[in-house]
């Protein structure tokens, strides 16, 4: 309770209220995340349960009754008669799950490596940061493709669909840890010379305790900013990979998969199969990114 009232009185919340863009971005993000979470309750049908589908409903126009069955679909249906609105809700779930997990993975890996590099210094620092530098010379999507390719090669075909999502998370996460490592290392270099760290060393605290209890909490601000911006990038990366056909399998389609499927119908006039998932992806990525940008400015003391 106290934490909530403290937050409501904080400068951060004040600046949030004063920024219409941030408020709008937050609302859009919240609506999308909530509808993904409660997709089974909101969606009119489960698009991946073959029993609930009716082929006769295929290619229904958005908002118009189907010529054979008379059913109406708000955003139309695809060739299989799946409700586009429902596929978007379920696709959003996959996209957000992959995005969140990948960022979490990148954040934990990058923060730990950045802490170690910054605190230990010397050779450990050089090795970790050189690996990071080398990885940065490749485009993130290329790294993800590479990891995805290797993972695909070593998993037996029968498991491929099952592990596809996890491989996707691993690939995106591994391509994204560098910026967390850099930011945490920079903050660690500043913090480790402060006197409160000296005070902890003086009483014989072990490096691990100093890193986790003293330094890590003081690097979380910038990490939060990077994580938000990374989330938008991870969602787009996931969509790109899925669009290229190497991401989420058709049995568990993400927004990217839906766009890939939809583009096959674009020139035959069934625009809605492509358009609505694409607009959803755009809204999600844009609002998360705007939120991240705002957070970065709000937490930057130099811009106050």
């Amino acid at each position: 309770m106290e934490a909530v009232s403290n937050f409501l009185a904080s400068d951060l919340f004040y600046r949030f209220r004063k920024s219409p863009v941030a408020v709008l971005a937050f609302i859009v993000t919240a609506v999308l995340v909530l509808s993904a979470l409660f997709a089974p309750l909101i969606a009119p049908q489960n698009p991946f349960d073959p029993g609930s589908l009716n082929l006769m409903n295929g290619f229904s126009q958005p908002g118009e009754p189907n010529q054979f069955t008379g059913e109406t679909f708000m955003l139309g249906t695809d060739d299989q008669g799946r409700d586009v609105f429902s596929t978007i809700l379920y696709g959003l779930r996959i996209s957000l799950f992959v995005g969140f997990s990948a960022v979490m993975f990148a954040m934990v890996l990058g923060s730990v490596l950045g802490l170690i590099a910054g605190y230990t210094g010397g050779r450990t620092d050089t090795i970790i940061m050189r690996i990071a530098d080398i990885q940065l010379t490749f485009p993130a999507i290329l790294v993800a493709l590479l990891i995805f390719g290797i993972a695909k090669g070593i998993t037996p075909p029968s498991y491929r669909d099952e592990v596809a999502i996890w491989v996707l998370i691993l690939a995106i996460g591994l391509s994204d840890w560098v910026q967390f490592a850099r930011v945490v290392r920079g903050a660690t270099l500043v913090e480790r010379n402060k006197e409160y760290v000296q005070a902890a060393k003086l009483i014989g605290r072990k490096p691990m305790a100093i890193m986790l209890k003293h330094i890590l909490p003081n690097t979380l601000g910038p990490v939060l900013v990077i994580a938000t911006i990374s989330l938008a990038l991870a969602i787009i990366a996931e969509a790109t990979l899925s669009f290229l056909g190497v991401g989420a399998p058709p049995t568990q389609p993400s927004l990217g998969t839906l766009i890939r499927i939809g583009q096959g119908f674009l020139f035959s006039g069934e625009y809605w199969i492509l358009l609505y998932p694409a607009v959803t992806l755009l809204a999600l990525a844009l609002s998360v990114n705007l939120l991240g940008d705002w957070l970065r400015d709000a937490l930057n003391p130099k811009l106050k």
């Binding site: 402060k194 006197e195 409160y196 000296q198 005070a199 902890a200 003086l202 009483i203 014989g204 072990k206």
Partner: protein, 344 residues
């Protein structure tokens, strides 16, 4: 009189021939390209002194004098390049052995910046409790809480302040919190590294008074590091004057101010702005502190010294006994430096 005559007990701190050398070379590739040799900075050069139980020894010096480096070595934050430190007869060797952890309970440090010395994400009570928890002085959480409350009140804050965060306090109050933390493990010896130089004068007076009261109450021994001679005069029993990493004079505090021996000590005293305005004519202070990477030969003070001669340029001076201490000066040894005019 009693200050100087040798006491039978062993000193609490015994420092012998302590040196600290930093490698300040440019990175390897730069050195190769620019054909430069490695560069070393002798931050502390062959310093020896002792601190007796219950006294305050002050080390004064300007920037580059090595005073903070000595402080860090004394509490095990920095490894000496040479020399030994004995704490109550036991060698200070930085490791995590049982013996060292036991020793760590007995010394503490108060830092310069009241802003950087407290972790901004920790509640004050946790900050104060940390040393006693980590060093295992107290294990029962109710007792820890009681001790934290007691410490907060001891330094002039209230027990309720424990649940706040450091940013809710002013500079002076934060320094009180830092003092409470330093007392948490019941240490005998506290290194105070410029504890008031970041504070306003009226707050400085509060903190200095508090530190003296605590010393009387708890029988603490202080090493007090400062650049401010008037503060040092107020706090110390004995004073060591540092110049470019080396001690140039150690003397009983009152006597040092009455009859400074080493020319550098005299210069420092002359430079202190005079609040009393006795109309004293200041001697013109010459020059600035040389670059410590490339210190002058012989006595490092000779380029700025009005009494320097050819011997000072050539030969590093050893210790000369003075009436109330020792000084490292050829001139004092040869008796060719006139007695300081006592202006106050």
């Amino acid at each position: 009189m009693t200050e100087i005559s040798a006491q039978p007990e062993t000193p609490l701190i015994q420092v012998d021939n302590l040196s600290c050398v930093f490698d300040v070379s440019k990175p390897w590739l730069n050195r190769v390209v620019e054909r430069e040799p490695k560069q070393f900075l002798r931050a502390v050069d062959d310093v020896s002194f002792e601190i007796r139980k219950g006294e305050t020894l002050a080390l004064v010096g300007e920037s580059g004098s090595g005073k903070s480096t000595i402080a860090k070595m004394l509490v095990g934050l920095l490894e000496p390049s040479a020399g030994t430190i004995l704490f109550d007869g036991q060698p200070m060797i930085i490791d995590s052995s049982e013996r060292m952890m036991e020793l760590r309970k007995r010394f503490q440090m108060i830092f310069q910046s009241p802003y950087a010395s407290l972790n901004p994400r920790w509640k004050v009570a946790d900050v104060i409790a940390e040393p006693m928890v980590v060093l295992g002085v107290e294990k029962d959480s109710a007792k820890i809480q009681a001790r934290v409350d007691e410490l907060l009140e001891l330094v002039g804050l209230s027990a309720a302040d424990g649940s706040k965060f450091p940013h809710e306090f002013s500079g002076g109050q934060r320094q009180r919190i830092a003092i409470a933390r330093a007392l948490s493990s019941n240490p005998e010896f506290i290194v105070c590294d410029e504890p008031t130089s970041a504070l306003d004068v009226s707050v400085q007076a509060q903190i200095l008074n508090l530190m003296r009261d605590l010393q009387d109450q708890l029988g603490l021994t202080y090493l007090f590091i400062s650049h401010d001679l008037s503060v040092v005069r107020h706090m110390a029993n004995r004073i060591g004057v540092l110049y470019l990493g080396a001690l140039v004079e150690i003397a009983d505090s009152k006597e040092l101010f009455k009859a400074p021996q080493h020319p550098y000590t005299r210069m420092l005293l002359d430079a202190v702005p005079d609040l009393e305005m006795t109309g004293r004519q200041r001697k013109e202070v010459e020059g600035e502190i040389p670059n410590p990477i490339n210190p002058p030969s012989g006595c490092t003070f000779h380029p700025r010294c009005p009494f320097a001669n050819e011997r000072c340029e050539r030969e590093v001076p050893g210790w000369t006994q003075t009436r109330f201490g020792v000084a490292a000066c050829h001139g004092v040894g040869e008796g060719r430096i006139p007695a300081a005019e006592i202006t106050r």
